[in-house]
């Protein structure tokens, strides 16, 4: 099996980027160079270039990292390839010691439903079509390859008529949520002081967001650990290997709209301030857990 890394850029691909991809395990780097391709990805501006690159391979699996690009480009690519799409997935490697039967693969994609109620196990070999999947955030960098990687440049021609013009661009205040390994989602009804306390205590890799204000970014995130604080958490993102905790007040009418692996329902009469203080003190441990189980 050959692992290709695809880089989309409007100038010559940075050698350091290629080296980093090689060390991460890429056997070959495909550099799609074309006007406008360094901009944040949209299907309408990047989709045809990505398809042109993918079509050269052709792939068994197309994997996107967390961060929003997969949500923008993945569905369109799957539609063009006629393949399956998994918006939130992880991989499972079969451990069969004997040769596999025809039509059975060794790598499976576990595709989690949006509400995390169940997943489907997709075998790209059995499907006879590629699977396009978005993987979760986090995990420490692990060196799987070498810096000596072949780079192939593909010159991409801009679509004749895109029909999209950028009017303005500013830093996304919730960008960190899309890349968070541990995402703490706080019900705004708990108040600004509770939110500020948790945000101040969050170590690197742990991102605290307001459930309402950051709703679109939460929907696009694929964290490994999720903690929903308060009784009105939104639909909780996650993958088969995500771990989900819920902190609910004793008067919470019902649990969050997703199954929690661990639930803390505070005792009747317990002070919310005390629970928030305790949770803030526990956030470093959650960051540690993320690192231990990439």
């Amino acid at each position: 099996m050959t692992v290709y890394a695809i880089v989309m850029t409007d100038r010559h691909v940075d050698e350091n980027v290629a080296v980093q991809l090689g060390r991460a395990g890429a056997d070959k780097v495909l550099a799609c160079e074309g006007p406008g391709l360094s901009a944040p990805a949209l299907d309408v501006t990047h989709g045809s270039a990505l398809y042109a690159a993918v079509e050269r391979i052709p792939p068994l699996l197309v994997l996107f990292p967390a961060g929003g690009t997969g949500a923008q480009l993945g569905p369109g690519l799957a539609a063009r390839l006629g393949g399956a799409f998994a918006a939130s997935a992880d991989l499972e490697v079969g451990e069969a010691a004997t040769p596999l039967a025809d039509g059975v693969g060794r790598i499976f994609v576990r595709r989690w439903r949006g509400d995390r109620s169940s997943y489907r196990r997709l075998d790209p070999v059995e499907l006879e079509r590629p699977v396009v999947a978005v993987l979760p955030s986090g995990g420490a960098f692990v060196e799987h390859g070498t810096a000596d990687v072949e780079v192939e440049v593909i010159t991409c021609v801009a679509p004749a008529k895109v029909g999209v013009t950028e009017l303005s661009s500013e830093a996304d205040e919730f960008a960190a949520a899309a890349l968070a390994s541990t995402l703490v989602i706080v019900d705004p009804s708990l108040g600004e002081a509770a939110f500020a306390k948790l945000a101040a205590a969050a170590p690197a890799g742990v991102v605290v967001v307001d459930a309402a204000a950051a709703a679109p970014s939460i929907a696009m995130s694929v964290p490994r650990v999720v903690v929903a604080v308060g009784g009105r958490a939104p639909a909780i993102p996650g993958t088969p290997r995500s771990r989900v905790g819920a902190v609910l007040g004793s008067s919470a009418p019902r649990p969050p709209r997703a199954p929690a692996d661990v639930m803390l329902k505070t005792a009747k009469g317990a002070s919310t301030d005390t629970v928030i203080d305790e949770l803030a003190a526990s956030l470093p441990a959650l960051a540690g857990g993320t690192t231990e189980k990439p």
């Binding site: 299907d43 918006a87 679109p216 696009m220 661990v262």
Partner: protein, 228 residues
């Protein structure tokens, strides 16, 4: 301008209106955009008559027309098939702008809008948070990605997948004033034969079945999440 809003019947929710959150925002945005004298909002749903609740809700909220695509069992088809069916219906209706919820399909994949756009031959943008008219054939939209929050001008036609923003959206209260009934459109003629794909059918559903552990303290919560 003809605006088509693709709806999906979500699983029953005791607090819900029969519409998914993203679908509600898409419909509200369409109704806000539409000038009754110049624009027409049509709601479309592929499903059975038992699943037409969202269409009736759309009519009550002010949609001019509601169309149910029937003649197929859409419950067991993949996103390619559903996208093809929706595109076939939309072509018959005629659309300059197609709005959908970003994650409103059964599995929250967000892939149906892309397949619909592909079959229509329209440009597709996902994760749209805000939109406003920018002339007769263009919109201004807000999307996030790559660490940026961008305002874009988009020429029509286009398929835009809407994601609910911080404020969500509320539809006008249900009204009985709209006498329009949900129309049935069958896709049974040879030109719109739906080709069933098999990308999803071989996937095997498996229950999560991990159970929920109850703890008494925040430290125990963190420890349990780290241990799992």
């Amino acid at each position: 301008m003809n605006i088509v809003v693709c709806l999906h019947a979500p699983p029953p929710d005791p607090d819900g209106s029969g519409l998914g959150r993203d679908d509600t925002v898409a419909l509200a945005q369409a109704l806000t955009l539409a000038d009754p004298d110049q624009h027409k909002v049509t709601a479309v749903l592929a499903g059975t008559s038992h699943e037409s609740g969202p269409l009736q809700r759309a009519l009550a909220a002010g949609a001019a027309r509601a169309v149910r695509l029937g003649g197929e069992d859409y419950a067991s088809v993949d996103f390619h098939t559903l996208g093809q069916a929706l595109a076939s219906g939309i072509k018959r209706i005629g659309a300059d702008l197609v709005l959908t919820g970003a994650r409103s399909d059964d599995e929250g994949l967000g892939a149906v809008p892309a397949a619909t756009a592909r079959n229509l031959g329209f440009p597709f943008i996902s994760g749209v948070e805000e939109l406003a008219a920018a002339g007769p054939r263009a919109l201004e939209i807000v999307v996030r990605g790559g660490g940026r929050k961008r305002r874009l001008r988009v020429e029509l036609p286009a398929v835009l997948a809407i994601v609910a923003g911080p404020r969500g959206a509320s539809l006008p209260a249900g009204s009985t004033a709209n006498p329009t009934e949900v129309e049935l459109m069958t896709l049974a003629d040879p030109e719109t034969t739906v080709v069933r794909r098999r990308t999803e059918l071989l996937g095997k559903p498996e229950p999560a079945s991990r159970g929920t552990e109850e703890v008494k303290t925040a430290a125990a919560l963190a420890a349990a999440l780290t241990r799992r």
